[in-house]
């Protein structure tokens, strides 16, 4: 059984190919053309694994760019794919917190890894990767640096949830000579609060897994643990869980 899962996100496109017991994975920037990124991911997976295109029984596509992609056998939402991917790696997980570039979600899993309920942020960017991206720019840092630079002991509360207000708030904090490390810790706390509130409305059952691009940020993990008062496990190679779930679904369904 050979299946491909492609997760076309707003920033990066991830691909996983499963051939029997072997897993192959690729990641590349989505750029301005999600459809082309999807095709490129498939081509790279084929080259990496040495599998021929006609040897692939099914391609499942997910992620923000899924609707634009034209040669998938099945389109599945990232919610279902994440659930599938995570529960494959960690069957004991019951709550997934996924923070990506554009949105954040909380997914509740049943005992067989099925989606029982989910919540997703509304229109605004608070509590998403975009929020951190904007703040990193305002601080003159790369978003990937934030997690290492923060210092929770110097935490300065950032009260605004709204991206626009928070941006001017931290510019003000900086101007008053406050340390970056503390401001960043405050930003992480703000994201954690926001997402934890969404999770609590649905009910948080252990074990809690943390996925999505922002899961690489240690500071947000710390903040989530403090807000939820439980340990949060960062999923290994968490950027790929959506694509992995899609690939597993592809293997399961075959051509439809």
């Amino acid at each position: 059984m050979t299946g491909i899962g492609i997760d076309i996100g707003s920033i990066a496109t991830k691909g996983v190919l499963i051939k029997d017991q072997s897993y192959y994975r690729v990641i590349l920037p989505t750029g301005w053309n999600p459809r082309a990124a999807g095709h490129e991911a498939i081509a790279k997976l084929l080259a990496l694994s040495g599998v021929e295109r006609h040897g692939v029984e099914s391609v499942v596509v997910t992620g923000y760019g899924r609707v634009a992609f034209d040669s998938a056998d099945r389109i599945v939402t990232e919610i279902k794919c994440h659930a599938r991917g995570v529960s494959h790696l960690y069957p004991e997980v019951r709550t997934i917190i996924d923070i990506g570039g554009q949105d954040s979600k909380v997914i509740q899993l049943g005992s067989s890894g099925q989606v029982v309920d989910f919540a997703m942020n509304d229109k605004c960017a608070a509590g998403t990767g975009r929020f951190l991206q904007v703040m990193a720019t305002a601080l003159g840092l790369e978003v990937s640096e934030l997690g290492n630079v923060e210092d929770p002991n110097k935490l300065l509360a950032v009260s605004s949830m709204c991206t626009v207000f928070a941006e001017s708030e931290i510019v003000g904090l900086l101007a008053r000579g406050n340390p970056k490390e503390g401001i960043i810790a405050g930003l992480h706390q703000s994201v954690g609060k926001r997402v934890a509130a969404m999770a609590r409305r649905m009910g948080v059952k252990p074990q809690v897994a943390f996925t999505g691009g922002v899961a690489l940020n240690r500071g947000v993990k710390r903040a989530l643990e403090e807000e939820l008062e439980c340990s949060v496990m960062v999923v290994e190679s968490c950027q790929y869980t959506g694509a992995l779930g899609a690939a597993l679904l592809a293997c399961q369904s075959g051509k439809q």
């Binding site: 923000y64 609707v67 599945v76 939402t77 990232e78 919610i79 279902k80 554009q102 949105d103 099925q114 989606v115 029982v116 989910f118 997703m120 509304d122 229109k123």
Partner: protein
């Protein structure tokens, strides 16, 4: 391609701004509506109305005014149209459903106001909707706080009458509403200069009941296992019912229903077999707000019923036609209108009963309970709706959205994930 520019400039409309709206509508209607497959032929009329949306009906209303008639603009299904028609007036719905008007409303309203109110105020202030220019009198009502204050802003533009809608449903509240209808009669009589009699009110009660019956018949057809009409098309019929001539509305809806009934007898549906059946409940969707229906129906599910004011709340329950005197007719009106279950009332448990009943009647697989952003009433009530549905094991997804397109992909993901859950 009639040229209505002269009519519009006589109405003192801002032609340049209005033109921007005219540009977008054909494209959106083409993609959202005309791309659908197997549409009933009876939708021709509604496609026609949309194509001439700011032309044909406004021209009719102006004709009516030229012969001395008055036009009343309304914003809520609690306003008894019967009174207006009994005095020889025409009532037309004015609720704004266009994103295009929101910015103009935001100039005077707080940002955390619901888009329906923003669009309604904006349409008037920006001079971009002929209906808002034509109406001689606006009829507001004391439902939500946002609307109550909006009336005060609009009152500086147009003669405004506000109907006091009770907030509870005890016997004394029905009595109070009955008195309100009497005062409304007085206002309408003074404004039109014509007296309302038991005869004329009896006529208009029948007129509006017939419209309701026709829409009920249409919705009845949507209960069929093979749905003979898309949710988008049915929504359009209800949306247009708000401002079309009531007897033509009844005639067209009956004609369409006839076609749907034939389809049912042939077991001919617009969607593949075992398509998921979805109910949408919550706040109204004024024309041209088709966003949520479009998402659901391009994600492999069918909307089979709307528990909303652009749905069952508009036409369920008839007014008793046998009341012999004006007094008794007004009583009958009060009783009928007070059966409508809007979140403005407390408690409003009858709405939850409605949702449960409709879920059964229309055999829905899941419910999307939705409210316009910043509608406190419906978003608070959604908690109770969710609770009641959980007890009955009916899956529900709550969505809050506005008229803009920014959250389209987000909503689509949520709706599709919900549908995936239903399929599992």
């Amino acid at each position: 391609m009639a040229d209505y520019r002269e009519m519009w400039s006589n109405l003192d409309m801002d032609l340049e701004k209005h033109d921007v709206l005219c540009q977008v509508l054909p494209e959106v209607f083409g993609e959202v509506y005309l791309s659908q497959q197997k549409r009933p032929r009876g939708m021709d009329f509604y496609d026609f109305v949309v194509s001439e949306i700011h032309g044909v009906r406004p021209a009719e209303l102006i004709e009516h005014q030229k012969s001395g008639g008055k036009v009343f603009g309304t914003f809520c299904v609690y306003v008894p149209d019967e009174i207006v028609f009994a005095a020889g007036g025409i009532a037309t719905g004015l609720c704004g459903g266009s994103q295009f008007w929101v910015a103009a409303g935001e100039k005077v309203l707080p940002p955390n106001t619901c888009p329906l109110i923003k669009a309604s105020v904006g349409a008037r202030l920006d001079k971009t909707c002929p209906f808002f220019r034509i109406a001689d009198m606006f009829v507001g009502e004391t439902t939500c706080d946002g609307k109550k204050k909006a009336w005060e802003i609009l009152a500086s533009e147009v003669p405004m009458h506000v109907i006091d809608i009770p907030q509870m449903k005890r016997a004394q509240d029905v009595n109070a509403f009955e008195r309100e209808i009497h005062s409304f009669i007085k206002v309408v009589e003074d404004f039109t200069g014509s007296k309302i009699s038991a005869d004329s009110l009896g006529e208009s009660i029948k007129l509006i009941n017939n419209k309701r019956k026709a829409l009920q018949r249409l919705y009845e057809a949507r209960k069929a296992a093979a749905v003979p009409i898309s949710g988008k098309d049915a929504l359009l019929v209800t949306q247009i019912a708000f401002y079309d001539d009531p007897s033509r509305c009844a005639q067209m809806a009956n004609q369409l229903s006839e076609e749907l009934e034939e389809r049912i007898s042939r077991k001919e549906g617009v969607f593949p077999e075992d398509t998921l059946r979805i109910m949408i409940s919550g706040t109204p969707m004024a024309i041209p707000n088709w966003k949520l229906h479009h998402i659901v129906e391009t994600s492999g599910a069918a909307v089979v019923v709307e528990e909303s004011c652009t749905g069952t709340r508009y036409f369920e329950n008839l007014v008793d036609e046998t009341a012999p005197t004006l007094e008794r007719q007004v009583r009958a009106l009060a009783e009928r209108y007070m059966k409508t279950n809007c979140a403005c009332f407390t408690p409003n448990s009858a709405r939850i009963d409605d949702i449960l009943r409709l879920a059964e009647e229309y055999k829905v697989d899941g419910i999307i309970d939705t409210n316009l952003q910043f509608c406190n009433l419906y978003s608070t009530e959604s908690h109770l709706v969710k609770q009641a549905l959980a007890e009955k094991n009916i899956p529900v997804l709550h969505l809050e959205t506005d008229y803009s397109e920014q959250d389209f992909e987000q909503l689509r993901t949520r709706v599709q994930a919900f549908l995936e859950m239903l399929r599992e």
